[in-house]
């Protein structure tokens, strides 16, 4: 049951079509894992905090450096050289005391991912490299957990949502060979593009957890800000997919 302060704080959520007090109660009872507190993670963390997800776990091994600050808006100049997860946790606590945050200053990898995915209701992939993105995909498919994928570089980005039984990241893309993908280090990234994609990831998580509206499943949305275009591409589930196909040989 929402208390009077919560009814006021979340009144604009509650008024959304299909959301209601029940949707808010579901959000407050949910646990979300956010992998990465950078360009995508900054807005995702802010919006999932503001909307009132009950428990957030933020995992990122890095400290804030000066070149992060043009896009990683959860961190400020005074946070340089501080752990990103500690900086982010402070912002969450200041924004919404309803949200319980766990800050993990470690890399998401084979040693911890299964335990973390298993203990959360939804995973938001805000990581900055293809290897971790495909690891998150494969473990979420294996454990039948929903997640939001996004990637961003230069003035472009992509986003998709996975829920069990639908197309996964590997149905659409092969894992690039290590070191072949161009990154923000090579060709830059515009902060507002990362912010747009990270905000959409938060919206996907909220729609799933509150049980309202349509999800971005079996499709990719591509954003090309350089040419001011959006494209939505349907993605069919690949029956031979290495992660989710009928005869998927467990690749991990």
């Amino acid at each position: 049951m929402l208390n009077p302060e919560q009814k006021e704080r979340y009144s604009r959520n509650i008024k959304l079509h299909g959301f209601g007090e029940f949707g808010q109660e579901k959000l407050l009872a949910s646990k979300v894992l956010i992998a990465g507190a950078g360009g995508l993670g900054s807005p995702a963390i802010f919006y999932l905090t503001a909307v009132g997800v009950g428990e957030l776990t933020i995992i990122d091994p890095d400290v804030v450096i000066s070149s992060n600050l043009q896009r990683q808006i959860i961190h400020s100049t005074a946070d340089i050289q501080r752990l990103k997860v500690i900086s982010a946790k402070e912002k969450v606590k200041a924004l919404n005391p309803d949200v319980h945050v766990t800050a993990l200053a470690e890399r998401l990898d084979e040693s911890n991912i299964r335990r973390l995915v298993n203990t959360h209701d939804f995973i938001v992939d805000c990581t900055d490299n293809p290897a971790t993105k495909f690891l998150i995909n494969d473990v979420c498919v294996e454990q039948k957990k929903p997640f939001s994928h996004a990637g961003v570089v230069s003035m472009t980005g992509q986003i998709m949502t996975y829920i069990p039984g639908h197309a996964c990241l590997r149905c659409a893309f092969e894992e690039p060979r290590a070191g072949t993908a161009l990154t923000a280090n090579d060709i830059g990234v515009l902060g507002a593009v990362a912010g747009t994609l990270g905000s959409l990831q938060a919206a996907e998580a909220v729609k799933y957890l509150a049980g309202c509206a349509e999800l971005l499943i079996d499709s990719f949305l591509f954003l090309d800000v350089a040419h001011a275009t959006w494209k939505k591409a349907k993605v069919k589930r690949d029956r031979y997919c290495l992660a989710c196909g009928e005869k998927a040989n467990r690749i991990r």
Partner: protein, 79 residues
């Protein structure tokens, strides 16, 4: 026959347009598939898995028709 091609995101480095990422026209033989076009543009196979024709996703064996606009998307891995 002439068609239009739009390469998204990091694929714009394979563009024939002087403006990286802008659509460009290209002359291709009849019977060219999307996969043939990807090979022609020297785009590595693993970088071009989602392809559109006139705004609708089509598989690599789609036979390109005159005046089609083909869009090719790479995976984007940054965050």
């Amino acid at each position: 026959m002439r068609i239009r091609v739009k390469l998204f995101a990091t694929l714009s480095r394979f563009s024939k347009s002087e403006y990286s990422g802008a659509p460009f026209e290209i002359e291709i033989p009849e019977g060219t598939t999307i996969q043939d076009l990807i090979n022609l543009l020297k785009i590595p196979a693993e970088e071009a898995k989602i392809t559109f024709v006139n705004g609708i996703t089509q598989p690599p064996d789609y036979l390109i028709k005159p005046d089609d606009e083909v869009g090719i998307f790479p995976p984007i891995g940054g965050g």
